[in-house]
Symmetry: C4
Subunit: 223 residues, 4 copies
């Protein structure tokens, strides 16, 4: 299957999943004092911002990953579905965290942030599997645009995976601060991202407007 359709479908799923996050903000208790209720709901806002940045930056990296390919085969499509299965689920633990971070139940905050961490760990794992798979197949199938991801880049990318694993463990002990870690990992992934073909081009040559067939390998199959 050509990458254009896979991108279009994935873009749609990312766009809807990120918008569904607003439902975590919506329910306000029917109390008379709306101002108090709104101020008291600060965990909702934190959960919204962290999840929004996380999904948004995942979208950036997802694009960069798919853009390296000319064609998407069946195994990659199923990996992509498993990745999206995690992305779509994000609003669920986000709502859990929003509802239980400051709730009366001690176990509530912990169970919520652990669930949150497990969903992000799922996504990071699916990413890493796709990353490794693409790297391994590069030589064999020659589908990869120009060159395999470098080993160092892979190590750094995996560091984020480790970050999610550590955060998932930390959340057992301190549910209140682990959300900060998730926010920081989002920022980390923003800088330590999969190099987009365009930016790699910029490093290799000096031209800002890239030479198209090389710079956008994902769309060369369009006439």
């Amino acid at each position: 299957m050509d990458t254009r359709r896979t991108e279009a479908f994935s873009d749609g799923v990312f766009a809807v999943a990120i918008t569904v996050l607003v439902f975590g903000l919506l329910p306000i208790g029917g109390g008379a004092d709306v101002t108090h209720e709104l101020l008291r709901s600060w965990p909702r806002y934190i959960a919204y911002v962290v999840s929004f940045l996380t999904i948004g930056i995942m979208w950036l990296n997802h694009h960069a990953l798919i853009a390296q390919l000319r064609e998407v085969n069946r195994p990659l499509l199923i990996m992509n579905l498993l990745l999206l299965m995690g992305v779509v689920a994000v609003p669920w633990p986000t709502t859990l965290v929003a509802d239980h971070l400051t709730g009366p139940a001690i176990g509530g905050g912990r169970a919520s942030t652990v669930t949150y961490g497990l969903v992000l760990l799922w996504i990071a794992t699916a990413y890493s599997i796709m990353w490794v798979y693409i790297g391994r197949r590069a030589a064999q199938v020659a589908h990869l645009a120009d060159r395999p991801p470098e080993r160092l880049k892979t190590l750094r990318f995996m560091a984020g995976l480790g970050g999610y694993a550590i955060a998932a463990i930390v959340s057992f002990f301190s549910p209140g601060v682990v959300m900060t870690i998730y926010g920081l990992i989002a920022v980390y992934y923003f800088f330590e991202h999969v190099p987009s073909p365009a930016s790699r081009e910029k490093v290799a040559g000096g031209d800002v407007v890239p030479d198209l067939p090389a710079a956008e390998p994902g769309v060369v199959s369009e006439p």
Copy 2:
């Protein structure tokens, strides 16, 4: 109508329908013990995974079906709408199954999985009608890209339809296990899929980057 717009609209509907599945995960009872509540909700997770894979793989096959065409006529558009009518409805029986699979009411689980089966049967029927219609019209209108779907392929494709019918009947007797069957049918359809033009090309010739006008017949009408 050109296939590009039909694909774009259908992709959007598939992407939103698959994301709406997260609403089946969202509602958690207001009980104090969130951990217990989350562990007790395992039917939600099963329903989510099975429905996600089902819609995801339906999207794959839908793409492969549409990609065989140069143009979509009015009868095909109405068939496509009837197909999407079933796809959009999937989150409804998914929520039913999630809520009633382990509920106290014996009838609840059965009614839910039967409803689930009927919706999937509707979708599979709409698919099969589109498949047969495209095959029959192939010779007459010469819209079909290169060749009509082979008879054997059609038989195998219909087997999935039979699977949904059998599952719908089984769900009257054993609501608890029929979800496994639906999951297996999704896996079956993943392998026994409509051949995508690109993959057929790969079989015919040996070139990985396909010859475009033949390989992407759905987009040849774009300059």
Copy 3:
């Protein structure tokens, strides 16, 4: 603004609005007898099917209308927004009808179907205004692809508008059957549609694969 972006945004809105209809199916009362509850909910299914076909066929005609243009100016963009404002609202009266058609309150059914009719009347009016505007501007701005919509076609198109007006009045007296009228209008609009450029081309010449610059005027501005 080029039509491509307007189409993409409108397609997205149509796709999400049609998928939101599933929320009209979702809430099931917590009664023990799920089977009885599901059978008793038949107004939900009718409302879902009628609204799905209505939005789906509106999408078809919207595409055919926009496809006649090379470029969308500011007045058309605001008309399009007003049209979409009605389309997005459709799930609201759909849920009203689903909840109140067989409810105990006599006024409930009537108020619901009247609201339903008013929303559809809004959409049909916005369509008609766009239709007339495009027809009038055709000679002046010369943006129109090949020829203005014929007068007879316009009259027939307006008939649907009249149908919605009549249905809105009928719904004051017989809320139970007016949904059938809405379904029939959807079917009417399916056949009495805005002629798509491609199908017109087919009538004019004999070639199935249309001559592109004339047949897809909306995308000629893409290189």
Copy 4:
């Protein structure tokens, strides 16, 4: 990253966010008199219309802003995410306003419209930062299509930002009328918009169908 993908993702987010507004219309109290309930809900309709126009016109201006670029760099992508974070949140204060504008609690209306104003202020601020950033970078990176936005245009654009700031303050004193101001700002932004490349072209030359490479700089990177 090329602008095409950024546009596609942003379009999706705008389309879903505008459609989610319908959830502000949905919940109707279970009272027997549906007609009375529907008439009493007029603040819902005002909130729906104002928010719909606001998001719709933001989409127009977002497109015009992005269309000026050939390529989107990382800082712009994060600005865009922050902008979308505000857009996605709009249905939240919309529902607040719909629920509390005529509610018994005096503080409810004020808290709701203030929240509404803060969200719009966030969006307007993100827009302005993007606008200034693009203007400043124009000379340096030479990514800008043809010429930097003029100073006067910038001043007028900023006036809208000031409008949101003033409205946010006004909403502390008169929650009932401030919604009118938000509606008027939407209308203001409709006319005082970012000039789209196509319309600027029309001013410069006399040709209605624009010279493509100059007129659609955002898509020139597509072969």
